[in-house]
């Protein structure tokens, strides 16, 4: 099971702040999970399109497309940060 979190613009566009997802077969990294989410439908495809700016954190560390995703991980999707 993955604990998936969404923040800011992505939270609003995707209509959820958190969800539990059974690790999809064949998904082993951030790129794989993103592709799987993008296949969910229009809003997902649009918000997670390669041309859009978003970031992924795995277990609260900034991640890259090739970062591994394993059962039990906390994976967060959010826009580039704008604090300070």
């Amino acid at each position: 099971m993955l604990n998936v979190l969404y923040f800011a613009r992505l939270r609003e566009s995707l209509g959820r702040d958190t969800e539990k997802i059974e690790l999809p077969p064949g998904v082993a990294d951030v790129a794989g999970l993103t592709a799987w989410l993008r296949a969910r439908g229009e809003a997902w495809e649009r918000e997670l399109a390669p041309g859009r700016s978003w970031r992924v954190a795995v277990n609260q560390d900034m991640a890259r497309p090739e970062s591994p995703v394993r059962d039990g991980d906390e994976v967060a999707f959010f826009p580039p940060v704008t604090g300070g």
Binding site: L5, F7, A8, R9, S53, A57, Q60, D61, M62, A76, F78, P79, P80, V81, T82, G83, G84
Partner: protein, 163 residues
């Protein structure tokens, strides 16, 4: 700089990180740091303030969202990185979340050191890294409606100066 003094200064202060809805008082924070260590000679600080105008639009109010857990982890990592680069004594990072209005304080960063060059550098580094690595997001209320603030390319450029 005296070598003995340098050795004594290392790891002598503390890192304080707070994420809170409440406002903060720079004077109180600095007074606490000064009182705690007579070897502090320099206190560099930065306060980020909510403006009434951003990218040409009037801002009536702003809300800061963050990622609890990762925020503290990211800020702690940024503080460790600063300590690895400069001989700082104390680091204080206070970041507010929730609703804020123009002239309200948003963020406070303080770096103390024996000498001013290291305090200034560490303070500016902390702000630049915080701006690009700490999971906070601003949503502004303008006459045209609510809008999420976009990340600035200048912030990425500022952070990359240090790498």
């Amino acid at each position: 700089m005296n070598d003995i003094a340098r050795g004594e200064l290392r790891n002598d202060g503390a890192t304080v990180i707070r994420v809170q809805a409440e406002d903060f008082d720079v004077g109180v924070e600095i007074a606490r740091l000064r009182a705690g260590n007579p070897r502090i000679g320099a206190v560099a600080s930065f306060v980020g303030v909510c403006r009434d105008l951003n990218d040409g639009a009037a801002v009536a109010e702003m809300t800061l969202e963050h990622y609890p857990g990762m925020t503290e982890k990211a800020l702690d990592g940024i503080a460790r990185e600063a300590r690895g680069r400069w001989d700082v004594i104390d680091i204080v990072i206070v970041h507010r979340v929730g609703p804020m209005r123009p002239t309200d304080q948003i963020v406070l960063v303080i770096a103390t050191s024996a000498h001013r060059g290291e305090a200034f550098a560490a303070c500016e580094f902390l702000m630049d890294y915080l701006k690009t690595r700490a999971p906070f997001w601003k949503k502004e209320r303008t006459p045209a409606g609510d809008r999420w603030v976009d990340a600035r390319a200048t912030d990425d450029a500022a952070a990359e100066r240090w790498s």
